[in-house]
Amino acid sequence: MSKLLPDIDDLTQPFWDAAQQRRLVMQRCTDCGAFVWHPQPWCRACYGQRLAWQPLAGTGELFTYSVVHYAPLPGYADEVPYVLATVRLTEGPQMMTNLIGCDWREVRIGQPLELRWEERTGGFLVPQFTPV
């Protein structure tokens, strides 16, 4: 068993196309400038529907986390204990992620994080974060 892969549709295709080129992008409203995450057809701030995919710096800080000792699915069993986390990106939005490439005992809220790309089944790239 491997880890989950996303279902991809017309709306989310640009995100995953960029990801396969190791670029993190997010929808941004061309009317009011608000970022939109997760992908959706309208801006939550102004209801405008002119959203453009904008590159992000791929940096942020740890908002919160949990060290998971009991995997929900077989594909994650080899990873325990793994860190389920929420990163607050430098641009403001928050994303769920794992913290990879670190000792789970040394994870601290507020620590700076940066983007990594994790290769899953078929070489599919998924965004992840690691402590700087």
Binding site: L4, H38, Y65, Y70, M96, I109
Partner: protein, 389 residues
């Protein structure tokens, strides 16, 4: 309130495992128990609200359960539906029933629930991973219910300095309550100590096994009634003095502030409607899927100042003998977490306490607060029950 409305009658199945009973039979058992315990007659019920079973175990088998029950009760119903607002479903049912009675749609509204809750790792695990976090993005990182709620606890501990010993104190206090409840699932397991909770095996930090609610099967029913009907059925009904509900975000990754998750606004609305303040509350039933949630609950309901929730439980204030009993049936942690029906026990206990029918665990509860949340703290419903209208 312009029109007085009360929870007139309440019943619960004993939490446990019922492999020999189909899920629909559990609904029937909950209703049969209610009708056996209370003088409810044909004609008293005009409205029916039913919670769907099968979400917690990943097999949603009947979203038309209300149709069967309308037939089986012989109702000529003015309104009936299957209602899903996650863990806040039952509190929202009480609100919908009260609104219907106030609007003159019904005198009595029956609210029914039955649920099953297999252990984590059952067949519904992948479905649940994609249901309780964003299916195409957040689900990729291996979330499930305990680590999702654990992220809330981690952040709150960071902001307030509350430690795992306070969480353990919640579990210890609620087990002490459960021992006083003849139906509680964990009563026979005996008391807990802070050390035993801290020593249990880790699940998802900061939660260890005894910080997590106990999955089981069960269900219950209650009747919301107009003043005249309520008084005929029960000389001391639990009057619905005030209520409030708030619906916000689906995904915990989008939570930005713990001091404004929605429960606060729901509580404030309920207090405004009731003309009461947090200082009037003498019993709190706070939905406790995890030991940390009552700590958040006493803060978010305004029962203690922000950051003081841990101290409240360490001082034993919510435990038997404390000045503000919390989850006096043992809560989901020790009474049992009956999956889709779990919010029923939260309401049933508050109602029984206000009615003066809580047996060995009876406290003086002229005003009781109920807080239930659904989804991943996505929606919140607060009820204020009182012994006078």
């Amino acid at each position: 309130m312009p029109v007085a409305v009360a929870i007139a009658a309440v019943s619960e199945l004993t939490p446990g495992r019922y492999p020999q009973r189909a899920t629909h039979a559990l609904y029937q058992d909950a209703i049969a128990t209610l009708l056996a315990q209370w003088p409810i007659k044909p004609g008293d019920i005009q409205g029916l609200l039913v919670a769907p079973a099968g979400m917690a175990d990943g097999v949603s088998d009947n979203i038309f359960v209300h149709e069967r029950l309308v037939e089986e009760l012989g109702l000529d119903s003015t309104f009936a539906e299957t209602v899903n607002v996650g863990g806040s479903t039952h509190a929202v049912m009480a609100i919908r029933a009260a609104l219907a009675i106030r609007a003159g749609l019904a005198d009595g509204v029956l609210c029914v629930s039955a649920g099953r809750f297999p252990n984590v790792g059952g067949g519904g695990a992948q479905r649940n991973t994609r249901m309780f976090a964003h299916p195409d993005f957040d689900s990729l990182y291996g979330p499930y219910i305990p680590p999702i709620y654990a992220q809330v606890a981690t952040r709150h501990m960071h902001e307030t300095g509350i430690g795992r010993d306070a969480m353990a104190a919640v579990a210890v206090g609620q087990r002490a309550w459960a021992i006083r409840h003849p139906q509680a699932l964990m009563a026979a397991k005996g008391p807990l100590t802070v050390d035993s909770v801290l020593a249990a095996r880790p699940i998802a930090s900061p939660f260890h096994l005894l910080d997590c609610s106990v999955p089981c099967d069960g269900g219950g029913a209650f009747l919301v009634a107009s003043a005249a009907l309520a008084r005929r059925i029960n000389p001391q009904p639990a009057w619905l003095r005030g209520f409030g509900e708030v619906h916000r975000r689906a995904n915990i990754s989008q939570l930005r502030r713990l001091d404004d998750v929605g429960g606060q606004a729901a509580a404030q609305a309920a207090f405004r409607m009731a003309g009461l303040t947090p200082g009037d509350v003498r019993l709190a039933q706070l939905y406790d899927s995890f030991s940390y949630n009552p700590i958040l609950g006493v803060e978010h309901m305004g029962l203690v100042p922000a950051g003081q929730g841990g101290r409240f439980f360490l001082d034993g204030r919510g435990a038997p003998g404390g000045d503000l009993p919390v989850n006096s049936n043992g809560g989901l942690l020790s009474f049992g977490h009956t999956g889709d029906a779990s919010g029923m026990s939260v309401i049933a206990e508050a109602a029984l306490q206000v009615m003066g029918r809580a047996g060995d665990r009876q406290v003086s509860a002229p005003v009781a607060l109920v807080h239930c949340y659904g989804g991943m703290m996505s929606e919140h419903a607060v009820l204020l029950l009182g012994n006078v209208s």
